[in-house]
């Protein structure tokens, strides 16, 4: 197909499948390193505590939607395809560390900061409140083009995001924009605050035990 007829999306899909082997390498490497380095913590958990490490490779359509979502109005400039590249995304390869209750988050964060000291901190915030700790950077042994990202998040919040993702994004990546509606944002904020209060109460009681 002549270059002029290819849409921005066509070009990005091609880029995605060119990058995919590297994305997988970054995901594998990042997951292995994080699992290894949090082992001392997971091995010392109290009976009421949980720690899980989950890894995912962002799908092609999710990657396109994420890039599209950076544009106000969610439209690519068709006459300037060269300004878009999937390598600008930080989370093509991502690992999420979930902990319950949230008392362990700081310990995990400290441990992983020693392993990834040069990575950029980019916490997930809502209304000034930190929802998750997030870092991105390069795993040079795996790729110098594809960045990896890891998040450290309370288990309840992380599982809620998974449910939200399955229900909203999975059927159609574009439905994800529903979550940006102001009313929906408020409902999501309400859920996050309820989880936070639940965990604080639980942790306080568990400590008394």
């Amino acid at each position: 197909m002549p270059e002029a007829e290819r849409t921005v999306e066509d070009r990005l899909r091609e880029e995605y499948f060119t990058l995919l082997p590297e994305i997988r390498r970054v995901a594998d490497r990042l997951e292995a390193e994080i699992r290894y380095h949090v082992l001392p913590i997971s091995g010392a958990l109290e009976r009421h505590e949980r720690l899980a490490v989950k890894c995912r490779v962002k799908s092609c359509e999710s990657a396109l939607e994420k890039l599209r979502a950076r544009q106000e109005g969610r439209a690519f400039q068709g006459d300037r395809p060269e300004i878009y590249t999937l390598t600008s995304l930080n989370d093509l390869a991502g690992v999420r560390v979930l902990a319950f209750p949230r008392g362990r988050l700081a310990e995990i964060d400290g441990r992983l900061l020693e392993v990834f000291p040069s990575w950029t901190s980019d916490p997930v915030k809502d209304d000034g409140e930190v929802q998750a700790l997030k870092y991105y950077g390069y795993c040079r042994q795996a790729s110098d083009k594809v960045k990896g990202e890891y998040q450290i998040v309370s288990m309840l919040t992380g599982l809620f995001w998974e449910v939200e993702h399955s229900a909203i994004y999975k059927p159609d990546a574009r439905l994800g924009q529903i979550a940006l509606n102001l009313g929906m944002r408020q409902r999501t904020r309400d859920v996050a605050r309820a989880f936070s209060a639940f965990e604080e109460q639980f942790e306080a009681l568990a400590r008394q035990d």
Binding site: E72, A75, G78, R174, L175, L182, G183
Partner: protein, 82 residues
Amino acid sequence: MTTLDTKQHILDEAGFVYSINRAVYFNRKSKKIISVEFAMDHDEEILERVTREDTGGKEWKFYFNSGEPPEGVRREIEAELA
């Protein structure tokens, strides 16, 4: 009422509808398009002023943080929301 709910209420009251595809609030009658980014980053007073502003209603008026969108983007969004 929280800030987000207040903003949503302002937009609802002014007849704006949310476009899932574009993540914008739009009003076909007044021909205004407000991005979620603009709605998030501006306070209720400005949002209220924008919804009431008289723009003539002949051409679509975009309220984006990044300013007026490029012509191609503008056409694409207008075609979808018209």
